[in-house]
Symmetry: C2
Subunit: 435 residues, 2 copies
């Protein structure tokens, strides 16, 4: 077995530094969720294939990892698959446990998901999702709270963002008033590209997708809509005057903006009619958050759904949720050098010793310091000092306490500050004060 | 789809209460690990089958879950499997990343593992392991630190435990001196049952397993060894006088006890010659921790290994580690009612309102409280008060702030203590003080 071992393509090991940074992201997000009363749940990595199949479209079905018991014959079709996202297991959870839950049910969930995608830069076969949802209420307070959570999470992380918001009912209304109510998916897929390919290319694509010339023309004022949010909403009220669903969308959007204003949300928020998002289950507000100082696409997204649990036999339960993309947030924080410096090492002091007696002495100091909550390591052997100091360097431990016979005789240690190189003889009391 | 959805047998959903309790266990353990400078890593859920196969014995190979890409033909043999434990992936990790690591490498890892075991009470197909290891040093300080960690973790959790300790070299020495060096596994398997089946049955089993009558007789003084640790060690030095490896084991054990004493470890520790543990890779100290007030078997276990990474081409790297059994610790804490009460709810106060204006008012109070770190919920609709109070009850939220027109007029809320039923009109400043 001389060959160096490896891991499956598209998967990753996370070392100590990466874990400290990932935990920083998750802990920040969890801290904000908790302020709003969201509580954590976890579901199994494997779900019955019947739970997963047909929920992610044909393409999604192909990307499911299937699981076989070793004992099973290869000929037996697998009955289980790995979690593909957190949304379908959440819907399954709500239906399965509905008698135990109190609604509105506010939950968050941070777990890995698996997709047999072709691995490429920034796309993995195992990655974490971080979802927060409130289900069992159609109050727009849900939308407000998620917006407040986005604001606070990114404020704490120090990332400048813009939240794009749209409403699925407005999109449906637009499709109605331009006379193409069945082409809503084609319309949204095309206008979603406006930023990237420009208005002419979008119009060409709309024609290609079978929209009549009149419909494309009717869409133009909407694509060109500009001004403040209030101006956009006023214009939309006129444009969508003949669409009941469209007006409902405008009304919802107006109420969300009223809540945003009355609670003093400071986040950049843009009413973006070109925001489409996967339209499979969204029925109301849809959101996407983009980092302003990094080119990385959406780092958080979500929306309202009126019938997510319907696929499992519990129709008519409205909810709203968003998902934080931990991997992309990680990349933004790394690119902009926004990770706190002190995440690098958890150990505050290493004891380096010259002999067995000194080692015993160091163990007692270590015990006293740990009792005060200080993270301490004792180098396990009184080996060459250079090696012990090298260990502290590699682990970025800020202080080393050097223990020789002289120090012991004075009931002290020689404390070295690894950043400045400064050395001082100190007592245990001094040390407690410094650390 | 009227059928209620379900999850694969042997797997579990964890609701909010269970998650809060599980996080309490993990956070307690992580807090202690950090005091000793252990840092977290994570490895992928799926490993190459070549990494996993042959590492857990024939039985283990059968219990591996294999993974198939959906795109793959069923006829193709799967190349990946789900993590079966954290030890083999850790060994793989150390070998794969050896150039990036500084040794001794102190890591911990808390992740689920999967086994296609027959599900039964207390045995699951998905469960968390919680491993801590130091690798790259044969210093017995490693053993000491793990013992100190066990002491501190169970002190914090409030569980009375006894740590049983033995040494693989002593067991090898015993097999040598009774003239059956090749029968070490048979001997340990049999004497491991001493507690359960008694000395006569153990002797019968030893004979059945092919031990000579003399060997069984020679073993008796060892089975009957009693007294203090010092007395046991003295007796062992005589018994194992002709076994080099046996004496080495006694010496190691003596040094571990010396360290325990000199650092004032208060844990119950028993030198237990009948402790065998899976002997596959252990080569030195072995540990098992039992809860004294619950009948549940071992809740933590581990030991020293001198060649764990040898299977991946990096021989001669010594390490020592233990694994905390989170599920069993959970059961002990539940049985003995040791979970802290305040884990039940993270929300400290719910705002219940009588109308839309009151709801807006509540949102501003909620914002002010959250800015001070208070976990707040606002019931999303001004629905019947009974329903809003019922929500607080179900979620065990300790305070409800009731907001009606009168309260608003006075710039106050009616604060209800849900435990005592007491109600008081309070200002925002009062509320900050109370929460």
């Amino acid at each position: 077995m001389a060959q160096k071992p490896s891991i499956p393509k598209g998967t990753r090991d996370f070392g100590q530094v990466e874990m400290a940074r990932r935990n920083y992201i998750f802990d920040t997000i969890k801290g904000v969720f908790a302020l709003y009363g969201f509580q954590q749940i976890e579901t199994p990595a494997m779900e019955n294939l019947s739970t997963l199949m047909g929920k992610y479209g044909e393409e999604g079905d192909k990307l499911l990892f299937r699981i076989q018991n070793s004992g099973e014959k290869a000929a037996l079709a697998p009955e289980k698959g790995l979690r593909y996202d957190l949304t379908v297991p959440f819907a399954r959870y709500v239906v399965q446990h509905r008698e135990e839950l109190s609604f509105p049910f506010k939950r968050f969930q941070i777990q890995p998901v698996w997709r047999a995608d072709r691995p490429q830069k920034g796309r993995y076969r195992e990655f974490y999702q971080c979802d927060v949802d409130v289900i069992g209420s159609d109050s727009l307070l849900g939308e407000l709270e998620l917006i407040q959570i986005v604001e606070e999470v990114y404020r704490r992380l120090g990332i400048n963002v813009c939240l794009h918001i749209n409403n699925r009912k407005i999109l449906a209304g637009i499709a109605e008033v331009i006379g193409e109510p069945d082409k809503i998916i084609d319309i949204t897929v095309a206008i979603d590209k406006l930023d990237k390919i420009g208005v002419d290319a979008v119009n060409a694509e709309l024609a290609e997708r079978g929209l009549s010339n009149e419909a494309v023309q009717a869409l133009q004022p909407i694509l060109n809509l500009s001004g403040t949010t209030a101006e956009k909403l006023t214009a939309l009220r006129t444009i969508l005057a003949n669409s009941e669903i469209g007006l409902k969308g405008v009304e919802e959007m107006g109420e969300v903006f009223r809540l945003i204003e009355s609670t003093g949300v400071q986040l950049n928020i843009e009413l973006d009619l070109c925001l489409a998002r996967g339209l499979n289950y969204y029925t109301g507000a849809i959101f996407e958050v983009k980092a302003l100082d990094a080119q990385i696409g959406s780092i958080t997204g979500g929306g309202r759904y009126d019938n997510l649990t319907g696929i499992f036999g519990l129709p008519g339960v409205s909810g709203v949720g968003i998902s934080f993309g931990a991997d992309r947030i990680y990349d933004v924080l790394a690119e902009l050098d926004l990770f706190p410096k002190e995440l690098q090492s958890t150990t505050q002091i290493l004891f380096a010793t010259f002999g067995a007696r000194e080692l015993n002495y160091a163990l007692l100091w270590a015990k006293a310091l740990r009792a005060k909550g200080v993270a301490v390591e004792v180098y396990p052997e009184p080996t060459k000092m250079k090696k012990q100091m090298g260990y502290a360097d590699a682990k970025q431990i800020p202080y080393v306490a050097i223990v020789g016979g002289d120090e012991m005789a004075q009931n002290k240690v020689m404390l070295k500050n690894m950043t400045t190189g400064e050395q001082n003889l100190v007592t245990l009391e001094d040390l407690c004060r410094i650390l």
